[in-house]
């Protein structure tokens, strides 16, 4: 994974294209850019370079955004798309990370990160495997893509209800309803 910084103007342009015209090409380029940047930052968090300071994902995404795009020159639509995209990216990054730890363990490498610790996070009172949650979320997306999006934004991207509503262009009460439904559905999947 490259850690080379991308010129701000390039990102802004791609973001605008993608946001306005749903340009697939631009989307792909952007995807890569966002992924790289988020990955670089998330990796830092997870290597606990920053533990003890703020752990808010939202901050991380904001930072990535600031790095990637010049806010003023991006239409609001583009910005909201960016957050939606970043949420999907964050999901992918975290799941990749969890999987990589899984591999280390499987390969018998003398890792100091046992499987349980790397993959099982205290998602609630009971612990759930992040990979299982990811799979369940994929199933939810088949049923109801909108709900899955809400989960990505809220859980993987750490957005609050207000921000989520803004990104999705729906009311806050809609987000609350979606969130309750998604949680109940996923929780049932994981506990059944």
């Amino acid at each position: 994974m490259t850690e080379k910084a991308h010129p701000v103007s390039q990102i802004t342009e791609q973001l605008q294209n993608w946001g306005k015209k749903h340009d697939t090409e631009a989307g792909n380029v952007l995807l890569q850019l966002v992924y790289d940047e988020l990955h670089r930052q998330a990796h830092g968090y997870l290597r606990k370079e920053r533990v003890g300071h703020t752990l808010q994902t939202t901050a991380l995404v904001h930072e990535a955004y600031l790095k990637l795009a010049d806010q003023k020159s991006v239409a609001w639509e583009g910005r909201s798309h960016f957050y939606a995209l970043a949420a999907t990216m964050m999901r992918r990054i975290l799941i990749d990370y969890a999987k990589s730890k899984h591999r280390v363990r499987r390969g018998g490498v003398n890792s100091d990160l046992p499987l349980e610790d790397a993959l099982t996070v205290a998602v609630s009172d009971a612990d759930f495997d992040l990979l299982e949650l990811d799979e369940a979320l994929t199933r939810l997306a088949e049923k109801d893509g909108h709900l899955a999006k809400v989960v990505e934004l809220r859980f993987f991207s750490g957005l609050d209800v207000v921000d989520t509503a803004e990104v999705l262009g729906v009311s806050e009460s809609t987000v609350k309803r979606d969130w309750a439904m998604a949680k109940a559905w996923l929780h049932r999947e994981l506990t059944q």
């Binding site: 703020t54 808010q56 975290l94 205290a122 750490g158 439904m181 049932r188």
Partner: protein, 823 residues
Amino acid sequence: MPDESWQRVREIFDSALLVKPEERRKFIRNACADDYALFDEVDTLLASHESSESFMETPAIAEMAYAIEGTGKKLENGSRLGHYEIIEPIGTGGMGEVYLARDQMLDRQVAVKILNERFSDDESNLSRFIREAQTASALNHPNILVIHEIGACEDAQFIVSEFIEGKTLRQILKEEKLNFPEVLDVSIQIANALSAAHDAHLIHRDIKPENIMIRPDGLVKVLDFGLAKLIEQKNRSSLGLDNSTALNNISAEGMILGTVNYMSPEQAKGDFVDERTDIFSLGVVIYEMIAGHAPFDGESTWETVANLINDEPKSLSTFAINLPEELPRIVSKMLRKNMDERYQTAKGLLIDLKNANQDLEFNDKLLIVAVMPFVNESSNADVEYLSDGMTETLIRSLSQLPNLYVKAHSSVIRYKGETADAQTIGKELDVQAILNGRVVQHGEQLTLTLELVDARSENVIWSEQYDREQTDLISLQSEIALDVSQKLRTKLSGADEAKVTKNYTANREAYKFYMRGRFYWNKRTAENIRKAIEQFKEAVDKDPNYALAYVGLADCYAISQEYLGTPTSEALPQAKAYANRALEIDDSLGEAHTTLGLINRSLWNWAEAEKEFKRAIELNRNYPTAHHWYCRFLRAMGRPDEALAEIKRANELDPLSGVILGNLVQVYLQLGEVDAAFEQCRKAIELYPNYPGLHNSLSYVYLKQGRTAEALAEAQKAVELSNRANGHLSLLGYVCAVSGNRNKALAIVKELEERYQKRQADGIDIAGIHTGLGNKDQAFEWIEKQFQNHSSELMAVKTEPVFEPLRSDPRYKDLLRRMNLPE
């Protein structure tokens, strides 16, 4: 699920969330109408919703970072930390990894907790923590964890404490619910620790289940005095928040997440805290031990805090029905938002808790519950026997539990098809809780909905739905029995658990036949007993090791002389063989021993009979038939006082059984307590105006009172209601005889003699009429005939009032001697 139905699920789910939680189920039941797949989908989602409050509320990356960070300082087994040799990791605490280690200097096992650097790099806070921890330790209190040392090695700070083999209260609560004596015991020990610490001006500040260890022997240790303060300080400084409130800490970091449930309002607001914050937190812990969840749970941390500051929690009495009375009051006083209204000292709290504990010990409460006949909501009449049978199986299973009285089947069956409210039923049956059930069948699919209702408040304490294929019936029985009993907070020892879930057969067909058999048996008429025999035979055919079905057969044959007139010599050997077969399979079957008691009584094996009855009661003291039949035995033995105690017990267990009520009247008569007999009989007839046995008993009572005309009317009524059954016809003949209507008496004698020829009547019924007619010789002839036939009913000569005139005759004494009966 297709799109449309997904939309429908969403609509109903969304709407249901707008309804009060306790009404949601009803709401969706209506909304889904007959669509059971839909109902099930929404219902399971709602259940999931209720248990997913904190689920995914912390962003994934924060959770992952925590998970990874927690493993940051791993020590290898066998590695050294000063003079401590690490043996193995034993857990991860909020502040870091905990290891079992050996102190090589003092040669003892210790626990070593490595502090994460984020908590330990501030000198002033750390030294404050050390001071507090050492003070707590110096108290040398049995309920406070002793800290041996706080040290530093390389860049790691660590705390060395005594090693406690045990579980945290959190772990225990995850595995099981504690019973009330246990809750009180744990609470008292924590209050003890707090009392000692508060005396030394030490505040814990973070009382929660994670900080309470319980050793297998029950000793409680409170951990981490002073540590909370260290974390709090650390959080504030690292965030640069000087006048921060806990709320700010949470929002900024989520670090105290999980603790917020146990905070006092003043703590959450960042106000001044003193000893009384610990009292509040302990209140939360006690509440959770009883209710199963913390009192101020919210959907998010914010909501929890808002609830904590603004809302009053539901009273504890809504979560448990046989709660020690004082406990809800004590906990509510602990949870007062205004600290001036709380217990002001841990000592004051301790006194109240100890008093409550004493009350509990004095009053080892029994919980009395009635399992109502399940309502069959399907139009299929075939499900009828099934729902009746399930009611009975559940009663049987629950009866096995200690401290639980379950009202007998015959007591509740009269409510079948009736809609009575819980309060009325509670009063009538004198029960604290009522279990309602509804069975719906859709093809092979059965849906059973259960509701446990507090009889006084009518609150639904618990409800559950079970959807099963009919093939799963047997496991469903166990599941329900176990579920309900756990809900009733009855502490199940391992052995009791096995009793409750014991199924006796794994064969679905056999089980069905058995259920049908009991359905017929309970009706107790000649025709139904024959049908019951057929069903039980089918059951053992399907499963030759089905102990309860053999008991069913044994029961049918054992009472067949009484109801079918089958001679003893035919019926009893069969009954005995079946009962013994049941016991070969399961010697601990109280029901089988009860039947064997009856058989031995009928065979005049008195000593053996008593042994069996006693064994039966020892094995299942909640089986009313055991007490009922034992009573009849005791009457024959001339022990009416004991008989009264037994029949009263049977009546308590099964207050609405007509046959037991009739027996109660008989015992009073035997004791010469005519007024009590009359009163009892009158009440019973109010309950069962059409039960022939009760009119029979009342007729006896009137005879004793000299009210012959009324006695005649009652005897006549019994005959009519029973469709001229032997016993009642015999009484009518007797009353006719003693009231001067000899012709009618003789006509009845003739009718019974004809039946006797066809082996459909017992000669003892004829002897009774002859006694009334003053034909002592003929009476003794019939008695002798029945002696030769070894009639199981012959002991009536000794117990029934009609035979009184015979008892001064030497032939009577001779009979008792030959029957080996005491005088």
